[in-house]
């Protein structure tokens, strides 16, 4: 028995298998889709991340009924915490959604495919490089895509700026409108406290070719309690007349995320 099989036996529970079987996720004869997603790898990833989800970050998800059980959708979230832990936890929340589990696709940085093993691994658990062609083809194939319109501006921000939404890109609005896709606003509370960055050490970031390099009290994610709130779907059914109107719509989505964050922060009783 190899390592993968042993892990599968140890981690994958019948509940996880049942959820994965319910996912509306078509794959080919070897369990792969066109972007490299693999059923077995995704199952193993969900099973192992579920442990972190339940026992380390003790994630509480609300509004899960707002994720459509099938069909194209964009999950648009705030981004924080230096590492994309928020993305992974949103993925687990959607994959284990009792109202209808979904395999959520995340956009990964373009350098990942060049890294041995990591590139294939990211693809296998649902990551794809953030190319507009990939996005529109995936939406056409009725996939669920996770978007962080703040990008590294959000994930790399310092602890003092926590829960302040950074500038939103507008690509996701174009994507949603060109493909008739509903947008589900998502707010993640608690990821900010997993890696409280005191400063960005730019020379090291530059040296390593990274978008930022945080100065942290500890170089490991802290066990902050996380809350994920899924808002009601927003549907833009008319074509925008101008790029200004597109920005307005992005602002509208941003505002609904801000509202979810404010409510979530008010409801939170302790950070850890």
């Amino acid at each position: 028995m190899n390592l993968k099989q042993r892990l599968q036996q140890q981690l994958v529970t019948p509940e996880i298998l049942a959820l994965m079987a319910r996912m509306p996720k078509p794959t080919g004869s070897f369990g792969y889709d066109a972007w490299g997603y693999n059923e077995d790898a995704a199952t193993l990833a969900v099973a192992s991340l579920k442990l972190l989800y339940d026992h380390y970050f003790r994630v509480e998800a609300s509004g899960l009924e707002n994720i459509p059980p099938r069909g194209r959708v964009l999950l648009v979230s705030n981004h924080s915490g230096q590492l994309p832990i928020d993305g992974l936890m949103i993925g687990v929340a959607a994959a284990t959604n009792p109202h209808g589990p979904r395999a959520v696709r995340g956009m990964i940085e373009r350098f990942f495919p060049t890294v041995p093993w990591l590139g294939n691994l990211m693809n296998a658990i649902g990551g794809v490089i953030g190319d507009p062609v990939n996005c529109s083809k995936m939406l056409a194939a009725e996939e669920a895509i996770m978007v962080f319109p703040e990008g590294v501006r959000g994930s790399g921000k310092l602890y003092k700026d926590r829960y302040q939404l950074q500038r939103f890109g507008t690509g996701f609005i174009h994507l949603a409108m060109n493909n008739d896709t509903p947008i589900v606003p998502v707010a993640v509370i608690g990821a900010e406290e997993t890696m409280p960055a005191l400063a960005n050490i730019k020379p090291i970031a530059k040296l390593l070719g990274l978008p930022y390099f945080p100065l942290l009290p500890i170089y490991a994610p802290l066990p902050a309690r996380m809350f994920i709130h899924f808002g009601e779907p927003i549907i833009f059914d008319s074509e925008p007349a101008s790029e200004n109107e597109v920005s307005d719509r992005a602002a509208q989505v941003k505002e609904s995320i801000r509202k979810l964050i404010t409510e979530g922060l008010a409801a939170r009783q302790s950070v850890f």
């Binding site: 080919g28 004869s29 070897f30 792969y32 889709d33 066109a34 972007w35 490299g36 373009r110 350098f111 495919p113 060049t114 890294v115 041995p116 093993w117 590139g119 294939n120 693809n123 794809v128 490089i129 190319d131 507009p132 062609v133 990939n134 083809k137």
Partner: protein, 356 residues
Amino acid sequence: MATKPRKTTHDSMAGSIVKSTAKSMAKPMAAATLESKSASERKTVLVTGAAGALAKRVIAKLHGQYQVIAVDFRSKVETDAGIPSYLVELHKRGFEDIFNQHKIDAVIHVGRMFTHEKTPQQRYNANVLGTKRLLDLSLKHGVGQVIIHSSYFVYGASAYNPALLDEDAPLKATEVTQDLVDSVELESLANIYLWKHPQLNITILRPCNVLGPGVRNSMSILLSRPLAPVLVGFSPLMQFLHVDDMAAAIMLAFDKNLPGIYNVAPDDYVPFQEAVTQCGCRRLPIPSIPPALPKMLSNLLNWKAFFPPYLINYFKYPVILDGALFREKFGWKPRRNLNDIFSYYRKQKLVLSGKS
């Protein structure tokens, strides 16, 4: 639509039914009397690369219904009775004699010098200049339909490739290596003729990896080996097509005559290393870092035929085609699945090991 010189045959008419209904209205009779046609009335189809596994299958399908002329640059192919066969290089003068001797109605251009054959210069001459000459002669002698067999290589294996490349995706093969210049140029050339000379009715087919009995491309040679090199940490997603299904695709493109560019690929995918294992090969891990190392090893060990230095990127990054256009427009669906394709290579190894 420019007029075609010989309109009496069945298929040039099928073509013009698609193109202009009005013109073909008057002649539905010819199709009905197909069976009763004598050999001299049959449409004549020239097939290049006749020695190859794919062209052989195409010729077998054409034979009987059409007058077939087999051409190859490698050898004079042994053909069935009634199929003239020529050993000729397309870019050499003798090639025109075939057009003078036969009234050729259609050309199916499968013949390509593989990327591992001869020098880049010779390959350029055969593939690019040869194709140019083929197209020029087709134009001069009033050929009404040309099918060109291209390759997914033209898209280039780049880390930044999105999946499901459409036919209008940029051809970035030369960004990866200068050794694929001939593949890209052959296509550009065909594209120029496609819009400049619509009477040629050019259809360009870009298949994914074609495999199966008798296929001698790099991938098929690699998967036939007991020990297959793989890059450590890289297992790009790939698409595979059985040579019988590709032959069927060519026949459909020929019968329906809808000029244009089409990817030919199934909507099923498998990582390269999985394919290697499924074909019964043992994996030979090649260090992938630094990137120059696998190229050096390939050169050093003379793995030109199955793991050529300039194709290393194709073993590293995926080139996934969207074959929906061809599937929908031509009603094509591969009959063999991945397991059918791989089982041929598995069985082939069992037979070989049984004998030794």
